[in-house]
Amino acid sequence: MDVRNLSAVECRALLASREVSAQELVRLYIDRIEAVDGDVRAFLAVDAEGALRRAAAVDATDPADRRPWEGVPIALKDVLCVEGWETTCGSRILAGYRPPYDATAVAKLREAGVILLGRLNMDEFAMGSSTENSGYHATRNPWDLDRVPGGSSGGSAACVAAAEAPWTLGTDTGGSIRQPASLCGVVGFKPTYGAVSRYGLVAFASSLDQIGPLTGCVTDAAALLEIIAGHDPRDSTSTGLPEPIRLPTATDLVGKRFGVVTEYMGDACEPGVRQVFDQAVAAVTALGGRCEEVSLPSVEKGIAAYYIIAPAEASSNLARFDGVRYGHRTVHSDNLLEMYTRTRSEGFGAEVKRRIMIGTYVLSSGYYEAYYGQAQKTRTLIVRDFERAFARVDYLISPTSPTVAFKVGERTDDPLAMYLSDLCTIPVNLAGLPGISLPAGFSEGLPVGVQIVGPHFSEQGLIDVAYALEQRLDIKARPVLGEVRP
C-alpha cells in the first residue's frame, strides 16, 4: 500500500473494511516518516511507541464499538497542548515543558479515536512565514528541499505534502495555515474566529489565532473541521459552527458570485502566481460561477495594523514565560530582574524578541493611541470593507501567497519582505473570517494556491466551492521524495 495518495477518509474506509489494521496503518506512516523526515524535518518529535500502543488497542476493540475515526493517525503543530507530551511552540524557552492538560481540539481528536503520531515544527510561537524561526531546526519544502515550506505551520504543511501523515492540525494568526498550505501544495483551512476552541492553543495573538486543518484534499479538511469545531465553555470567545459540516459533493458553481480582490493583484504578485490564479478564475467561470472585480480599499493597511495588534497581544501573552513556574530558567542570577532578563534573553529567538519589543512599545503610555488605537480603527475599516464586498458577492478569491516558496535563508535578514508573504491572508484574520487555500497549479515546478474567503460561518459553503474547484483542477502531482534520491 502506498501512503502517498492516501487520504484520511480513505484510511477510515480501509480500517472499517478491515483491509488494513490500525497497527499496519500507523506502521506505514512511521516508516514513511523514517524514510523522508531526515530530509523534510517536519517533525519535532514522533511518538511511535505511543501511537503503536494506541493502534494495538484499536485493533483489540470490537469494530462495532469503535468510534468514527478510530485508528486514523494525525500529527499536530507543536503549539497545541497534549497531556504527557512535551509542548514547546518551537521555542527553547519551553524546552522540557509538559502541559498538565489536553487542548480542547486535542481532546476532541482523542474522543473521535484519532491516533496522535507526533508534534510538528513551526516558527517559534507561530511568529514567521518560513518555519526558519524554529528554535530547533528549519523544515524544508518537500517540493524543493532548498526552499522553505512557509510558516508558521510549515511542519504541518510539509508533513501532509510529504505524506508523513494523512492530515495535520495547524494554527493561523495571519496566514499561518493557508500560506504554508499554498507553498506546499496542500489544502489549508482557517475557520471563522470562534469556530474552534482556542483552549490549549498556546496564544500568540488571542484575537486572531484559530486552529484549523491541513490536508491532502478538501474532503479531509471538512471531516477534520467537523471533529474539532464546537463551542467550548473553557473559551469565552468560542461559538462553534451553526450546523455540522457535511462532506462536500458539489460539482458546479452555478449561481455563485466571486469577487477578485483588485488590491491583491498588484506588483507584489509574481507573474507565475498570477498565471495560475487566472487559470483558477477561468475554472470558476467554467463551473458556472460569476467573477467580478471587488475592491477592499483598506486591506493595504492590513499588514501595518496586524504588525501592531499581533505583537501587542503577543507581548502580553508571552509575559508568562518568566522562568518562575515552568520551562527554561537561567542557571545563575543574582536577583529577580536578572533572572527575568537572562531567562527571556536565552529562551526567546530574535523574531520573538523583535515582536515583544514592538508590542511593548505600541502599548506603552503616550504611544497607545497613535499605534494600538489607530490599528484597531484600521481593523474596523477592514471589517467594513469585507461586509461591503459580501453584500455584492458570495466569496472572495485571490492568490494565497503572492509568491511561490522562496529559498531557505532568502528572507531571514529582511523581516519586511517576510511579512509581505502574508499580504493576502492577514486581512482575513483581522476580520475573523473563514478562508481556505487549495492547490491550483504550479509555477517553476512549485505549488501555487488560491484562497477563497467567505462571510463569517460560511464554512460549509467554502468547503463545497473549494471541492468543486478541486475536482475541476484535478491536480495529481505529488512531490518526489526519498525514493528517487540517492
Partner: protein, 499 residues
C-alpha cells in the same frame, strides 16, 4: 440609599499646622464566592500552599479565563449599594507587569469601562454629622498569589536567599473601590472604612476580614492650605487594620507637615507605616512607576449588564445600616445608640429582631443584646453566628425574667453558664434550684420568722429608723439563698413590721 445632604467636611481634629489633609481611599474587597474569578478552583483560606490551583490560575500556556458570574453579581451588589451608575457594557483589561506572584505576567482587571462609576457613601462622623464621600469607581479584578521570602533580614524579596510562591490566593475575585479625595482627616478615613465594612457585611459578599486579607486598604494623602490647590500625594500601602490606617495617616500627615514646613516639597512616593515603631518609611518614588500597558483583554468578551439584570440585583439588596437604624429607632423605640450598634452589624441586628419578636419587649431585648450578649462575643472573640447562645435561647432567659422566675442579677449568672454551651436557661435554673421564690405563702413564713427572731430591730423600725429595713431584707435573702422575689419581700416586710 436615601439621599443625604452634603455637609461641608469639618476639619476634625483641627488642621495640622494650618494644612488641610486631602485623603482618598482604595479598598480591595475579596469576594466570598465559592470559586475563583476565572477558573473553578476553591477560594478557601488557610489551605496547604498550592493545593487550590489549576492550569488556568497557574497561568499555564494555552489556558483561558472564564468569568465567574457570581463574582459579577457580587460586584454589582457592591456598586449598587454605593449608588454607582451600573449597566450597559463593561469590559476587562490586562494590566501588564512582571512579578513572581503574578502567573500570567498580567492581571486581568478593569480600566476605562469599569462595572460601576460615580457613586457615594454617606458616612456618619463621630460628631454625628454626615459626610458624603464620592465613589469614583467600582471594578472587578483577580488577586495575585502570595510570596514567602526566606533568609535575608528585611523579609522582602531583596536580600532573600530564596522566595516561594503560593498560588492558592491567585485568581481570587476582588472588587476595588476607589473613593474621591473627599476625606479630610484620619478619623474620617476610619469612619468611612468602618461604615463601608458594615455595608459590605450587610451585602453578604465578602468575609471583610482585614487580618485574613479579605479587606485591604491603600490611602492617598496630600496636604493643602484649606480650600487651596491639591498638593502632591503619597500612597500609604498595605495597612492591615482600620486603627493602623488612622495612625498611619496621622504619621504620614505629620511627616508631610514637617517636609513642607522645612521648605521642601513632598515627592510622589509609596510609603509604609510600621505599627510597632509608629514610623513611616518612604518605599519608592512613584516617578519610576510601572507603565502597565493596559489593553482590552482579548480572551474575554464584553459583559452587557442589561436593565433587567441590574434591577434584579437591586431588588435582592438587603436593608442598609442607615435605613435599618432609622427603622429600629421607629419600630422598636430604641435609642439612637442602641439602634446604631444593632444596625452596624447585620447579624447582630438580625439576632436582636429575632429575640425581640419572641420576648415582645424590645427595650429589654436591646439592653441584653447590646449589653451582656455583645460583651460576651467581644471577650470570646466570636462572631454572632458562632455564639453558643442562639436568639431563641436568650429569649427563653428573658422570658424567665419577665415571668418573675429570675431576677435580673440571677439572669446574668444563668447567662454566664449558658455561654459555656449546651444548656438552656430553664435547665440551668432547674439544676441549680435557682427559681426565684415568688410564692407569697412561702415567703410570708420566712418574713414572719425573721421579724419574730429580731424583736429589738423591729421595734427600732417602728420608732422610725428606716435604715433597719435593709437589715431585714438582708436576713430574708440570707434565709432564701437570695432567691426571694425582692419586690414581694419588700411588700411582706412592710406589712409584718407594721404589726
Amino acid at each position: 440609599m436615601s439621599e443625604a445632604p452634603t455637609t461641608p467636611p469639618p476639619a476634625a481634629g483641627g488642621s495640622p499646622g494650618g494644612w488641610e489633609p486631602v485623603i482618598g481611599l482604595e479598598i480591595h474587597v475579596q469576594l466570598s464566592t465559592r470559586t475563583k474569578m476565572f477558573c473553578g478552583c476553591a477560594t478557601s483560606f488557610g489551605e496547604d500552599p498550592n493545593t487550590q490551583v489549576c492550569p488556568v490560575c497557574l497561568g499555564h500556556p494555552g489556558t483561558l479565563p472564564v468569568v465567574n458570574e457570581r463574582a459579577v453579581e457580587y460586584a454589582t451588589r457592591i456598586a449598587l449599594a454605593l449608588d454607582c451608575t451600573v449597566g450597559g457594557r463593561t469590559i476587562f483589561h490586562r494590566k501588564n507587569y512582571f512579578y513572581p506572584d503574578l502567573p500570567k505576567g498580567y492581571q486581568i482587571s478593569q480600566f476605562d469601562l469599569p462595572l460601576g462609576v460615580g457613586g457615594h457613601l454617606d458616612v456618619e462622623l463621630d460628631n454625628g454629622d454626615l459626610l458624603r464621600v464620592g465613589i469614583t469607581r467600582v471594578h472587578m479584578e483577580e488577586d495575585a498569589g502570595k510570596l514567602v521570602h526566606s533568609g535575608g533580614v528585611t523579609g522582602r524579596i531583596h536580600g532573600a536567599d530564596y522566595s516561594l510562591v503560593d498560588f492558592n490566593r491567585g485568581g481570587t475575585p476582588l472588587v476595588e473601590i476607589v473613593s474621591e479625595p473627599d476625606i479630610r482627616s484620619p478619623e474620617q478615613a476610619r469612619s468611612f472604612l468602618t461604615q463601608l465594612k458594615s455595608l459590605l457585611e450587610h451585602l453578604d459578599v465578602s468575609d471583610v476580614n482585614m487580618e485574613e486579607g479579605s479587606l485591604r486598604c491603600d490611602a492617598n494623602v496630600s496636604l493643602r492650605p484649606p480650600g487651596g490647590e491639591f498638593g502632591t500625594k503619597t500612597e500609604l500601602k498595605n495597612v492591615n487594620s482600620f486603627r493602623f490606617v488612622q495612625r498611619g495617616l496621622e504619621a504620614e500627615i505629620d511627616r508631610q507637615v514637617r517636609v513642607l514646613e522645612s521648605g521642601d516639597r513632598v515627592t510622589q512616593a509609596t510609603v509604609h507605616f510600621d505599627p510597632t515603631t509608629g514610623g513611616i518609611s518612604v518605599l519608592r518614588s512613584k516617578e519610576e512607576a510601572h507603565d502597565y500597558r493596559y489593553f482590552p483583554e482579548p480572551d474575554l468578551t464584553p459583559i452587557e449588564l442589561d436593565a433587567e439584570y441590574v434591577e434584579r440585583v437591586r431588588a435582592g439588596l438587603p436593608e442598609f445600616p442607615a435605613a435599618r437604624k432609622e427603622r429600629l429607632m421607629h419600630a422598636y423605640a430604641l435609642t439612637p445608640y442602641d439602634a446604631g450598634v444593632l444596625s452596624a452589624n447585620r447579624l447582630l441586628g438580625d439576632y436582636f429582631e429575632r429575640v425581640a419578636a419572641i420576648v415582645g419587649d424590645a427595650k429589654v431585648s436591646a439592653h441584653w443584646v447590646t449589653g451582656d450578649f455583645a460583651a460576651y462575643l467581644n471577650s470570646a472573640g466570636l462572631e454572632v453566628e458562632e455564639s453558643a447562645v442562639g436568639p431563641e435561647a436568650l429569649a427563653e432567659l428573658l422570658g424567665l425574667v419577665a415571668g418573675g422566675t429570675l431576677s435580673g442579677k440571677m439572669a446574668k449568672e444563668v447567662f454566664a453558664e449558658m455561654i459555656e454551651g449546651g444548656r438552656t436557661a430553664g435547665l440551668i435554673v432547674e439544676e441549680r434550684g435557682l427559681g426565684q421564690i415568688s410564692d407569697t405563702a412561702t415567703l410570708e413564713a420566712v418574713v414572719a420568722a425573721v421579724v419574730a427572731a429580731n424583736p429589738s430591730q423591729a421595734e427600732e423600725f417602728r420608732q422610725g429608723r428606716d435604715k433597719v429595713f435593709g437589715f431585714f431584707v438582708g436576713q430574708v435573702m440570707k434565709e432564701t439563698k437570695g432567691q426571694a422575689n425582692p419586690q414581694l419581700v419588700n411588700e411582706l416586710l412592710r406589712t409584718y413590721l407594721a404589726r
